[in-house]
């Protein structure tokens, strides 16, 4: 009994169409440059670890609190604890199950990449990252690379 109609266009989309057609708010050059540069961040052959919800203690809301993010693909779990420090971000990670020797990670923002060896207990850390988009590449001997889905850390 349901007849499918095209959904009514919502306010934001109508406003977007008006503005696009008015041509008075062109895409800034740096936005185009960043979009083109994003391509250099692809990791050929990588599988993407998707975010999964993590339990957060009730009442934890402040942006000054540590945040825990968890990403999984297959059996691999990458957990990231994010701690804002003076407008920058410290990141402590845990790879599980325990990785083989020689496992490395690259913590990436659009503008910088920090490489780390993962410890025998599966841990790694990077300090002083700028807030914004980031992703972690995990490289294990004998496996294809895994990237965590790009996530925004807000200041």
């Amino acid at each position: 009994m349901t007849t499918r109609h095209p959904p009514a266009i919502d306010d934001e989309s109508l406003v977007a169409a008006l503005r696009l057609a008015a041509g008075r708010d062109p895409v800034p050059a740096h936005v185009l440059a960043e979009a083109r540069a994003a391509f250099a961040l692809r990791v050929p052959g990588a599988s993407t670890a998707a975010p999964v919800a993590t339990a957060v203690p009730a009442g934890v809301r402040s942006s000054e609190e540590a945040r825990l993010l968890r990403f999984t693909v297959g059996a691999l779990v990458v957990e990231l604890e994010i701690v804002p420090v003076d407008g920058l971000v410290d990141l402590a990670g845990q790879v599980s199950p325990l990785p083989e020797a020689g496992t490395t990670v690259e913590v990436r923002t659009p503008h910088l990449t920090e490489s780390r060896e993962v410890s025998a207990t599966g841990q790694f850390a990077v300090t002083g990252l700028p807030p914004g988009w980031f992703s972690v590449v995990c490289r294990r001997p004998g496996h294809g690379p895994v990237v965590t889905s790009w996530t925004r850390i807000r200041p």
Binding site: P6, P7, A8, I9, D10, D11, E12, S13, L14, V15, A16, A17, L18, R19, L20, A21, A22, R24, D25, P26, V27, P28, H30, V31, L32, E34, A35, R36, A38, F39, A40, L41, R42, P44, A46, T48, A50, P51, V52, A53, T54, V56, V60, R61, S63, R67, L68, L69, R70, P110, G132, W133, S135, V147, S149, W150, T151, R152, R154
Partner: protein
């Protein structure tokens, strides 16, 4: 139809395949083709230029990691628009001071529209706007009564003006701007729908 639900496959399969094979020029072609719409959608959610830039950048980063799972040139436009809308909604809610974000991972969990999402819920944000359609849209606005005509014109051509500035320029109290804008958009939507109904 004015706002097509499926996009013309301007990004053809060759372009996608070339990008998947690592061809930067092919990627640049995708960027050139889709950026205007992504930017307009982000800005239409009331984001500042800096926040809109952040949202658009994240959308492209997500495409980099997802392109091999999409592949279909007809789906890329809708995937990009759905992604930019979700990110823009999240950020605009946050900048409006609703900081009830208990868990970043939870809100991220569904950030990649799946094939099923797009098939079952065609996204109304698919703005396929040729130059002709853009002119038709504005011709329709021109036929509207005041204050709608001036309000929509001002809103679209003063992208960084805040509610107060817009209200002053329209000679109305700030508190009236939002509701009036809502009524004008409804009216415009009705007019466009009526046009679509006629051959």
């Amino acid at each position: 139809m004015f706002f097509a639900v499926s996009e013309a496959p301007v990004s053809d399969q060759q372009t996608i395949d070339a990008a998947l094979a690592g061809d930067q020029a092919a990627w640049d072609a995708l960027v050139t083709h889709h950026s205007g719409r992504l930017w307009s959608v982000a800005r239409a959610h009331g984001l500042s230029a800096a926040d809109a830039a952040d949202v658009v950048q994240g959308t492209w980063l997500r495409l980099v990691e997802s392109l091999h799972t999409i592949r279909d040139p007809e789906r890329i436009g809708s995937w990009l628009l759905t992604t930019v809308r979700r990110e823009a909604c999240l950020l605009s809610r946050r900048t409006r001071g609703e900081r009830l974000v208990a868990d970043p991972a939870a809100e991220q969990a569904d950030h990649n529209p799946t094939r099923a999402d797009l098939a079952v819920h065609p996204d109304p944000a698919l703005i396929v706007l040729t130059a002709d359609e853009g002119r038709r849209l504005w011709r329709t606005v021109e036929t509207m009564h005041e204050p709608c005509r001036s309000l929509l014109l001002l809103m679209a051509t003063a992208p960084d003006a805040g509610v107060h500035q817009l209200a002053v320029r329209l000679g109305m109290p700030s508190g009236s701007y939002g509701p009036t804008r809502g009524r004008c958009l409804n009216r415009l939507r009705t007019m466009l729908t009526a046009q679509e109904a006629q051959p």
